[in-house]
């Protein structure tokens, strides 16, 4: 019942977000139509942050309590960091090439995001490295917890370092984004968070089914 509701709400939010992003959002005064890539790029980065938080908390709970359900959630969280940070990097490259003139720059925000992606690729891979499954689960939990330390570094990299990437448009200092662009961004952010929740539930369920076989 909860899964069906979450799946339906996610599909509805994604459809609304797509209509707002591709049809109803006006082009940006400076970037023109390219600003529409923001509605994929920013929500996927947010989803990657939240997935890393889930992998961190669930990993820490697994190391403490040794209950399989926390390991399943940590596994789902780590894979979803790879999915959403990978999408952040891809959409950023597709935005950077026409706007900055380059696919990639050795910029603090880009490099720390790539490090986040690689840390959680490592977290997914390390699970299968040990012959002892319990040891693999513990190693993955440790990498999942430690990997989360990169999230604040990614977020504040644009504040701490001089970078090509723009600073945050939404923060304690206010909202530096026009309302016609803000609404599609908020709806897409909610849609991606709902999608993250749905995929977390489904992936954790798969891990549970596979562990019981």
């Amino acid at each position: 019942m909860l899964r069906a509701f979450l799946g339906g709400a996610t599909a509805a939010l994604l459809a609304l977000g797509l209509v707002l992003a591709l049809w109803l959002s006006p082009p940006d005064a400076y970037q023109g139509e390219y600003v529409r890539i923001m509605y994929v790029h920013v929500p996927s980065a947010l989803a990657a942050y939240v997935a890393a938080a889930v992998a961190c908390v669930a990993g820490a709970l697994y190391l403490w309590r040794r209950q399989a359900r926390y390991d399943h959630l940590a596994q789902a969280g780590a894979e979803l960091v790879v999915v959403f940070s990978g999408l952040t990097l891809l959409s950023g490259m597709l935005w950077g090439r026409p706007v900055w003139g380059v696919w990639w720059a050795w910029d603090a925000r880009l490099v720390t995001t790539a490090v986040l992606f690689l840390l959680y690729v490592g977290c997914v891979l390390v699970r299968g490295l040990s012959d002892d499954p319990e040891r693999g689960r513990s190693l993955a939990a440790v990498v999942g917890v430690v990997g989360f330390l990169d999230v604040p570094i990614v977020h504040y990299s644009v504040v701490w370092f001089r970078t090509l990437h723009q600073p945050p448009s939404i923060g304690p200092g206010g909202v530096a984004i026009a309302p016609p662009l803000l609404l599609p961004l908020v709806v897409n952010a909610l849609a991606y968070l709902a999608l993250l929740g749905y995929l977390l539930v489904e992936r954790a369920r798969l891990a549970q089914v596979e562990a019981s076989r």
């Binding site: 797509l18 591709l22 023109g32 139509e33 390219y34 529409r36 890539i37 994929v40 790029h41 996927s44 894979e79 999915v83 959403f84 990978g86 999408l87 891809l90 959409s91 597709l94 935005w95 090439r97 026409p98 999608l195 995929l199 489904e202 992936r203 369920r205 798969l206 089914v209 596979e210 076989r213």
Partner: protein, 40 residues
Amino acid sequence: MNPWVWVLAAYGCAALVVGGYAVWIWRRLREARATEEVEG
């Protein structure tokens, strides 16, 4: 190049990456259920 090419490429990547992962989960779940039915 037309800006919409870049925009649609980004949305296509999102659909492929996230959709591909979701389909992979659903297929594995369906296989697990089918195995349970055969064994059960």
